[in-house]
């Protein structure tokens, strides 16, 4: 099994404060890996290092075959990223956003037009191609943003709470897109607060106070802790947290 993310002793300190404390884990190709934890646990800080956006204080990480400290630019070229805070340009049309990101992600010019058409059709957005993204409902935006993030078939796509505040139907459609991407061999690294979504993951890790307190499949975690739902797993582990915000 090809390892696509490899983290060893990954640490990030801000002065004496250890935001991320010696993380160790590996993620395989095509895996849907859930990265859970309460706000303030260190998830975003960890993700930023994995995306090549922030330098580790110590330890190492290899993402998509490149060291995040030595080759952050190569890392960025081989990943996709989507978050609630930023996904697409509100003041550009649907089609314009697709074309822009296709260019940024380095899709060859001759392919951009055909791939754009294919994507619009797949998402049933052909009629909406000239709609300003700001006019789209949140759920549609999220689906489009995800599709754009994997447009260039990256090895890994990082999703930072992609379905926050989105209704049950759209959330499911979104996760079907995730399933499909994973089936195509794209590794999905996702953070979520929805515990039913945690169930869709192949494996999960739970961060508490900067450390990983649990790392296993949803099924194994529930069995080990003797509980029936991921909700209860989260509650039991989060209760141990000393760090709130």
């Amino acid at each position: 099994m090809e390892t696509v993310i490899e983290v060893q002793g990954l640490t990030k300190s801000f002065g004496s404060f250890k935001a991320v404390d010696h993380l160790n884990f590996k993620v395989a190709k095509g895996e849907i890996f859930g990265f859970l934890g309460a706000n303030g646990a260190g998830k975003t800080t960890a993700m930023r290092m994995l995306c090549g956006l922030s330098k580790p204080t110590s330890g190492s990480a290899r993402v998509a075959g490149y060291d995040v400290q030595l080759n952050p630019e190569k890392v960025k070229q081989n990943i996709g990223y989507m978050s609630q805070r930023f996904s697409l340009y509100d003041d550009l049309k649907v089609e314009e956003n697709i074309r822009l990101f296709a260019g940024i992600y380095g899709i060859p010019r001759p392919l951009i037009k055909t791939q754009t058409e294919a994507l619009l059709e797949k998402l049933h957005f052909t009629e909406e191609r000239n709609t300003m993204v700001r006019a789209l409902p949140l759920g549609w935006k999220q689906k489009l943003a995800f599709s754009v993030a994997v447009f260039h078939q990256p090895k890994v796509v990082f999703l930072d709470e992609p379905t926050g505040g989105v209704d049950p139907v759209t959330r499911r459609q979104f996760w079907e897109l995730i399933y499909e991407a994973a089936a195509q061999g794209i590794t999905v690294f996702v953070t979520t607060h929805y515990m039913d979504e945690a169930e869709y993951c192949d494996r999960l890790s739970m961060m508490v106070d900067g450390r990983i307190e649990a790392l296993d499949s949803p099924q194994q975690l529930k069995e080990k802790m003797g509980v029936a739902s991921m909700d209860e797993v989260f509650r039991l582990l989060a209760r141990k947290a000393k760090r709130t915000e």
């Binding site: 706000n39 049950p168 139907v169 759209t170 499911r172 607060h193 515990m195 869709y200």
Partner: protein, 301 residues
């Protein structure tokens, strides 16, 4: 039972878009009433009309017997409103925001402290922090305190827990439950089904229309089909194959399992079909209906 909020045939257009279509319902005094529906259903529009921030095109509404259009000023001092996005002053501290809002309503933090005490104690350690630097959960608590500062009798909360972590969400709903015990009438919208279930009654909304208004239990009882769950080793493959089967009416993901309904109950035939498709570790059984299943059935996912 006292009718606190009466909505009668409210309609609202935004140019071509019909945001609300002939909406009518009532909310009783002391009720915790939930508005449930996807983005674009019209929830925020309804809140803005009831909070006297937007005029309806047709229809009327009364809050505690007072017309929302004719006597909007009177209503504004008796309601607390928490809009969908954090809208307090990011560059003012927690304490400064609270004092500001108190002064706008002609009161002080001390006067109605008892009402917000339970919530404010979480914020006390951060009272000098700028509101913009608070975490999601803390922002929600502050916004709720500001909405309560003038001791309103009604609260309008537009998706107050969206984007907030599960622990804070639970704390927030415990707070709402305590406020309800003190006699507060609360209208809250939420995309979370586990929260919808905590309301006295809920309204399921879609595309500007009300689909159902009832207690969560009644809505569940009205689910008119047998619901089943299924899982297998390859969940995504299972989802695709289930949807291709003529035996299956509706099938959707539901955490660890898929939930589905039969066109006609033929359990053996379905299992045989799945085995023939190569599925392993098949687990299939009837399952209890939840509000989320009702919602998904009504919106036909």
């Amino acid at each position: 039972m006292d009718k606190m909020i009466v909505v009668e045939k409210i309609t609202k257009h935004y140019e071509q878009v019909k945001a609300l279509s002939n909406i009518s319902f009532t909310i009783n005094k002391g009720e915790l009433f939930g508005l449930v529906g996807p983005d674009g259903a019209g929830k925020s529009t309804l809140f803005r009309i009831l909070a006297t921030l937007l005029l309806p095109d047709k229809g009327k509404a009364w809050i505690n017997g007072v017309d929302v259009v004719k006597h909007y000023k009177k209503i504004r001092s008796s309601i607390g409103y928490m809009p969908g996005r954090f809208s307090l002053y990011q560059d003012l501290s927690v304490e400064e925001n609270l004092n500001f809002y108190a002064s706008v309503f002609g009161t002080t933090l001390e006067e109605n402290y008892a009402l917000i005490e339970d919530i404010y104690r979480y914020l006390l350690p951060f009272k000098e922090r700028k509101a913009g630097k608070l975490s999601g959960g803390m922002k929600q608590k502050l916004a709720l305190c500001c909405a309560l500062i003038h001791a309103p009798s009604i609260l309008f909360l537009d998706e107050p827990t969206t984007g907030v972590d599960p622990t804070s969400r639970q704390e927030f709903w415990e707070t709402l439950s305590k406020l309800k015990e003190k006699g507060m009438t609360i209208l809250v919208s939420t995309p979370y089904m586990d929260e919808a279930v905590l309301c006295d009654r809920i309204a399921l909304m879609q595309e500007g229309q009300l689909m159902k208004v009832d207690t969560p239990q009644q809505i569940i009882d009205q689910f008119d089909k047998a619901l089943w769950k299924v899982s297998a080793k390859n969940m995504y493959g299972l989802l695709k194959d289930m949807r291709l089967s003529p035996l299956v009416e509706q099938c959707y993901t539901f955490g660890q399992y898929l939930h589905f309904t039969f066109v006609q109950e033929e359990l053996d035939a379905l299992v045989a079909y799945l085995k023939q498709k190569g599925h392993q570790e098949i687990e299939i059984a009837p399952t209890a209906v939840t509000i989320e299943d009702c919602y998904l059935q009504l919106t036909d996912v």
